[in-house]
């Protein structure tokens, strides 16, 4: 699997890696965004409430772009998000 695939999926690059179809890559980028957005919104409803849609999207897209998550447990994304906020505001 080329690094380019995951660069696209994370939103680090819009370059379509050789052999892949852009529509399909967009689905994966969308699904990863949705997975992060839903989990973080569930655990930080006040933060979601405080931001408009564009600000929220900017925040989650940045979180995904800088992701290096390792846990097998999806719920651990919450701890990753706290660590991300701590890093970004340091």
């Amino acid at each position: 699997m080329s690094a380019g695939f995951y660069d696209y999926v994370r939103g680090r690059s819009d370059a379509v890696p050789p052999g892949y179809a852009e529509a399909g890559l967009k689905v994966y980028r969308h699904l990863v965004y949705l997975g992060a957005s839903q989990m973080i919104e569930t655990h930080f409803p006040a933060l979601r409430e405080a931001l408009d849609d564009a600000q929220w999207r900017f925040l989650i897209e940045d979180f995904v772009r800088k992701s290096a998550w390792t846990s097998n447990y999806y719920a651990d994304l919450v701890e990753e998000f706290k660590a991300y906020l701590a890093r970004e505001s340091a």
Binding site: F5, A21, L25, Y28, A68
Partner: protein
Amino acid sequence: MVGVGFRSEMRDWNPADVQAGFYEVAPENWVRRDREPLYRLRDAGHAVCLHGVSLSLGGQAPINAPFVREVRALMDDLGSTFYSDHLAASGDAHQLYDLFPIPFTEAEVVRVSDRIRQVQDLLGCRIAVENTTYYTNIGELTEPEFLMRVAERADCGLLLDLNNITVNQKNHGTVGIDAFVAQIDLERVTYLHVAGHEFDPRFGLYIDTHSDRVERPTAQAAARLAREHGKPILLEWDNDFPSLATLNEELACLQAFTTT
């Protein structure tokens, strides 16, 4: 036999009211959670199969051995004899909590089947791998070729998802269920998945949403495999989760197809 994927919405349902012979759960959801609802299913005489989402058989990070041992402990606790995951990657060297395509290449056959063997050695039993929906992929092999080479080299089981075959056919013009199944060694197939899917005009692609009833041709193909080869059928319904009545109607329909 017809079963259903267990959802938190079903937690307060009486197992006797659900027309399911067996259940499937994601181990990731239960390793750290109170397992009382699963004990109730088991005690009511239903098998509980584990179907994981995070093993990342196609990923670049080493197989997470402590996680596999947690799954083993869960299997022992529930008396589960089946554990499967997807023939997919959950990310590159990191987790992205989705299922990404493994290139259908000879090099990946070798690499991924070695990883499956490693999981089986850790568990002390066979696992099954599921053919997945992919929205774009590369490689010189066809999907059934890739699937069979991996299964034979890893000596693992197959969880055959008929809905995924149909979604891939609609999106990529690949083979339909009958032609796909004709290339599969059914001896390796543990059970079948069926589900519903939806078209998403934003992408111009069908998405494997598990949000609807099963298409009739898919249900009929599953029923034929159930009748002729004794394969159990598992209904996945994860989004727009229906009422008990609607779910029972769908389960009864799948069951009726298998006996007529």
